[in-house]
Symmetry: C3
Subunit: 150 residues, 3 copies
């Protein structure tokens, strides 16, 4: 690939990954279970603290259609993400950042969850997809902090 | 347009839209009514739950110079945005994401508003501008969730 | 530089600056004092309200290894940033945006700090680095709002 095109491709990769992750919150908070699952590769996984590990798109969609998330939607919620720090390595990438769940209690908005996230992504025939997202609550545990480490 | 330049242009468009939206919070929280209004097209609108719909730049500037926003500034506030998921279509684009207003009560920071946002943007002779921003509180209403839907 | 390459370079610069700032939170919340300090130029500074001004990498690393930040890590915390509005000017840049510190109290997550931030950056032989980050609490003070102003 000519040098200029390689530089362009690297920017496109980073843009695609950032956009993929930015779509999570709007899809989750509009209750779009298939849309959320479609961010992941077919054999992708989501390991989110407080829930059984979800392996494969059906299981990931099940987190959105399941009772905990549906209650959050009924209450009123926002799955807010921070910016992600992206490391590209050919057809693979890692992104690190925070996620925060805000919830309407009926009287006020509360900070319901604050988590560390490590996203593993790969580029396949359908573009960039998530292969593994790990999410752990930042409540003082070293394992959660480790997800954010270089 | 040659293929490489078209790819570059698409990245520039996404960058310009992201930057436009990223400027909202700093402009709002520095009380820059004209700066906020200048993000919108001349005939642009801002439909923000809890306020009368603001059509045109004077009305949008009026939201910033008006008593509710001025009280927030005097209290201490942050109009924090999450990342936006951007869909480009030629000279038009849609961006979806969350916004959160944090407020100093005098004793602590409270989560004052948590909203869904859908931004409609167009590219004109002055570059990308907002034509419509819709904002609705995520308190369990389906209409708010719908702003975030694909 | 040919026009296309200059446009590509401008996008790369913005991407590098955004990524640099996006790395702050994960590095801070994984307790990586050297990693945080390495975002700054050798003679860079961090003026953060509530702490003595930190000039140079050793002093900046000392903010992370110091007792206040270490207590936050032990409690559970997230240094969440919002998007930054970036102004490029050759080998210098300014970025403006919010930062929020969320803390686990042992019983709930609280909004511990909400700040305005102005980042000054320069491009040197090691790429883009922070030369000055100013951080002030948004508790109604005009000086904090001024950091966000155009």
């Amino acid at each position: 690939m000519p040098p200029l095109e390689a530089r362009l491709q690297a920017l496109e990769d980073r843009e695609a990954i950032r956009d993929l992750i930015a779509r999570y919150g709007p899809l989750a908070d509009s209750g779009d279970a298939d849309g959320v699952a479609g961010l992941w590769a077919k054999d992708g996984s989501y390991a989110v603290q407080g829930f059984a590990d979800a392996a494969g798109r059906d299981a990931i969609a099940g987190l959105i259609s399941g009772p905990v998330h549906q209650q959050l939607l009924a209450d009123g919620c926002a799955h807010l993400l921070g910016p992600v720090a992206i490391e590209l390595s050919g057809d693979a990438a890692t992104a690190r950042g925070h996620s925060v769940v805000l919830r309407w209690t009926g009287q006020a908005f509360e900070v319901h969850r604050v988590s560390a996230n490590r996203w593993q992504l790969t580029r396949g025939s359908h573009g960039w997809q998530v292969t593994l997202r790990e999410n752990a609550l930042l409540q003082g545990d070293a394992a959660a902090r480790a997800l954010l480490a270089r």
